[in-house]
Symmetry: C2
Subunit: 508 residues, 2 copies
């Protein structure tokens, strides 16, 4: 594990840590508490005391028998002023990211292709800890590699969740991941949202009014996507983050900060003078949102970062940053399941972030260039949306500050067949036919040749897969999640289809 | 999922399947039964009916923004008659395994670096299904990729095991993996072994005498390592495999066939004429042991294969072959946890096994060459062992037929301080001081500068991590697991240290 050394924003970090870092062992699941260390690795801890010891213990193939001596990736050079544009145009310089088995490089293939620790190789973790440190300056935390945020998050469920536990989440969320917790017996408690994301006062109301005799154990985990919340595209303000962290402190909540879109922020006021004096990392760190991790003196944040959106999803690499106690338990789970992340990706990341590759600053330059490109696409999307769609008055959307998604509100109450139910004698039943109309509209758009994700896909379901009707969420599913990261043609053509389908559906 | 078409050894495979493929849903865990499909993927099943549909649904980065356009690996050419020797000597030809984003290749980086299905990309699964088919000719089964056998096996635990379940295993086994089942509430029931591996009659005795009122639910899963069993190095004979499969059929047991050493077999009588007429794959298939998978008409075998020992452990890729029902449930678990295996490895395997790479037959040529090299090391190990160690009469070992390990028996009863306990009034207590003496010997060897793995490391422990004393396994821990896959120097030097340490310990 790698320590991240606090560097700024604290007068006396050591004393702060002593005061605040908490014993959080009560949050561990029965499974995590019961996990035994690997007996074979325990032997090795004893055995590796003495240098020069001959190892006849392990069944590791010798590196001379790995049938790979060199691995190369052709990547864009970040020497261009706008490397993403140069790469797209095919006009920019390229560079080779090379790893070797028998020649010097940042991380030898001898190491990368051998068995390793579940947490990942020190070289990669050090690089990511440095990146973390320069961006979040977190209090004492550790970095472990993951296979991306789905892997990391579902491991956090195993780490923290027991059957019967309730976890908090946003009322619309990335259902593939919330559904993944259901077979573990975890129940989701949705928090109301507005255009700025989850509403802290609703979170407080849930926690303050929790009745353990009726509802079971009070939630001790919050799952949240703070930037470009999936599906709503909202980004939590600094003020809300502070309120949420304070509530987590007050009610002893662990925050799972799932932040795959963190690096994709728009309308950033990046200072050229800062770039010139301190480089891209510092300049970006100055303007990126403040993460929950950065304010985590208690050690109650498990932050999940991913390369999926900024390099490629097939990379299947990310990193978890959390307190050292959780990190140790997480690494034991990894050693007992997926094992160490693949060496090919670890070698690639080592070289890319190393001195012969982009380096951390070059990586952040790529990221800032990527932000500009995605911002261009977002702006195009919103321009076309306003022109083609919003003008009809049938739909509207907030401009997202980050990520990949626009949350399009359908003004369903303007539909001729929109009904408010009179059945007030049936409390808990849906009071409008919003869900039915939205389902019709989804099919209509599909007939027109367009897929957008209906909001109902992201509503929290119960253990049987059904959306509960008691919270009237079915009255608020009048949204589509649309992505703006496709090509310009997809944006233009897609939104035109959307406008036409919408007008036909509303019988205009 | 990929069907593997049965090709030989069955007169009427379709009818056999109809007769034998069983409904095995009763074996699923509560967790596996409760798992919901991914609602986002469900939408896509609806949406992808119509070609030309515009996708504004998903948050996938566009391939033009992946910062990699080409990936190369320098590997040995398999045109050499003995490619492993040529590679080690640095005299052989090399070849480049290349993947491209925008140029033709077996599996485009556009696909490999995108999001994919948990089961892996069709291209890779097809190649592995073909390999399977040519070696095992299994009845109707499916292939899903894994991140290696630890990943695959621990997912099988989640798939099949509920708290309180008992699973069968060999009495000495790969404890890192059996320990991984303990926090899930799975109890292990060890089966006695001899020099040829697990003893079918002991397995039958356990099952026939099982008392559900006293012992809980009868075991419904067997975890076994049939080739080069870890740690004992034994390989199950064809006759034992048949007996074990028949018992599994009779007592309704699912067999987890963990076979990472399958491809490393020695003393094989490979027919040159078969190589010349049909290639390496057929020639190897003719002489490799018959797997449980190959006899699995019931669909009760989940076979786990890995590239760790034949390519490199850091590759973190393997494959699971099982019936289509389990495969679907396994893939749902993968989609809800680690997600699809990394694209870098999938691209590499696709090109390596494809027409521009080694091809399947070239791969099997590499494997057969690797077998010769490991056989050479095994023979060297056994020669040195007989000369330096066995001659003293203090230790002995069977010559392993496969894999990486020698199971060295220490003749502990010849030690001056060896004691048989007289406490016959304490049934269940250890009756010898074998465990203590072996612990001393392990420390002694460590002082001499040598690590071998003590047998006690591989004994089944209870939920608290302790070795139960009631089965007198502590009287039978007079073994070390030693590997013969190190360099010649390690073998020579290590065994000399072993001989000296042993003689000093026995006070000769």
């Amino acid at each position: 594990m790698v320590y991240i050394h606090p560097t700024h924003e604290r007068a006396d970090p050591v004393n702060n840590l002593k005061k605040r870092q908490l014993d959080l062992s009560r949050h561990l699941s029965v499974e995590a508490k019961a996990r035994l260390p690997n007996p074979i690795k325990a032997i090795w801890k004893v055995a590796q005391v003495k240098p020069g010891t001959i190892n006849m213990g392990n069944g590791d193939p010798h590196h001379t028998l790995y049938p790979v001596c060199e691995m190369n990736f052709i990547v864009p050079s970040v020497s261009e002023s706008d490397p993403v544009q140069a790469w797209r145009a095919g006009t920019g310089d390229q560079q080779i990211i090379a790893s070797y088995k028998d020649e010097p490089c940042a991380l030898s293939l001898r190491t990368a292709l051998a068995y390793g620790a579940g947490a990942g190789l020190k070289h990669v973790r050090d690089a990511l800890a440095e990146l973390n440190d320069r961006i979040h300056a977190p209090p004492k935390h550790m970095v472990s590699l993951s296979l991306g945020n789905a892997d990391a998050l579902t491991k956090c469920y195993r780490l923290l969740g027991d059957p019967g536990d309730s976890f908090l989440c946003e009322e619309f969320t990335f259902s593939a991941m919330t559904n993944a917790a259901l077979p573990l017996g975890i129940k989701w408690v949705p928090i109301r949202m507005d255009k700025d994301g989850l509403i802290p006062s609703d979170m407080e109301k849930i926690l303050a009014n929790w009745d353990e005799t009726l509802q079971g154990k009070r939630p001790h985990v919050l799952y949240t996507i703070p930037c470009s919340q999936n599906p709503t595209g909202s980004t939590l303000s600094a003020e809300r983050r502070r309120q949420i962290y304070d509530l987590a402190h007050e009610y002893d909540i662990i925050i799972l900060e799932d932040d795959p879109y963190f690096f994709l922020q728009y309308d950033l006021d990046i200072q050229t003078t800062t770039i010139e004096s301190y480089g891209y990392t510092r300049a970006m760190a100055d303007v990126l949102p403040r993460s929950f991790l950065s304010m985590d003196y208690d050690g109650r944040v498990m932050r999940l970062d991913s390369f999926s959106k900024i390099l490629a999803p097939g990379m299947r690499l990310g990193w978890v940053t959390c307190n050292d106690f959780f990190a140790e338990k997480l690494d034991m789970l990894t050693d007992s399941s997926s094992q160490h992340p693949h060496g090919l990706g670890q070698a690639f990341i080592s070289e890319l972030l190393g001195g012969e590759g982009w380096g951390i600053d070059g990586f952040m330059k790529w990221v800032s260039s990527l932000c500009r490109e995605y911002q261009r696409r977002r702006d195009l999307f919103m321009d076309v949306f306003r022109r083609e769609v919003e003008s009809s008055g049938l739909a509207s959307a907030e401009t997202p500050k980050s990520g990949m998604f626009v949350w399009i509100k359908i003004n369903v109450e303007r539909h001729p067949r929109y009904r408010k139910s009179e059945k007030l004698d049936k409390p808990g039943a849906p009071v409008t036919n919003t869900a039915d109309l939205m389902n019709e509209l989804f099919r209509k758009l599909l007939d027109c040749g367009l897929v957008m994700m209906p909001a109902s896909t992201f509503a929290i379901v119960d253990q049987t897969g059904r959306i509960p009707t008691d919270g009237h969420i079915t009255d608020r599913v009048n949204f589509f999640r649309a992505t703006f990261v496709g090509t310009d043609e997809v944006i233009e053509d897609g939104l035109k289809i959307f406008a036409r389908g919408l007008e036909e559906f509303f019988c205009y």
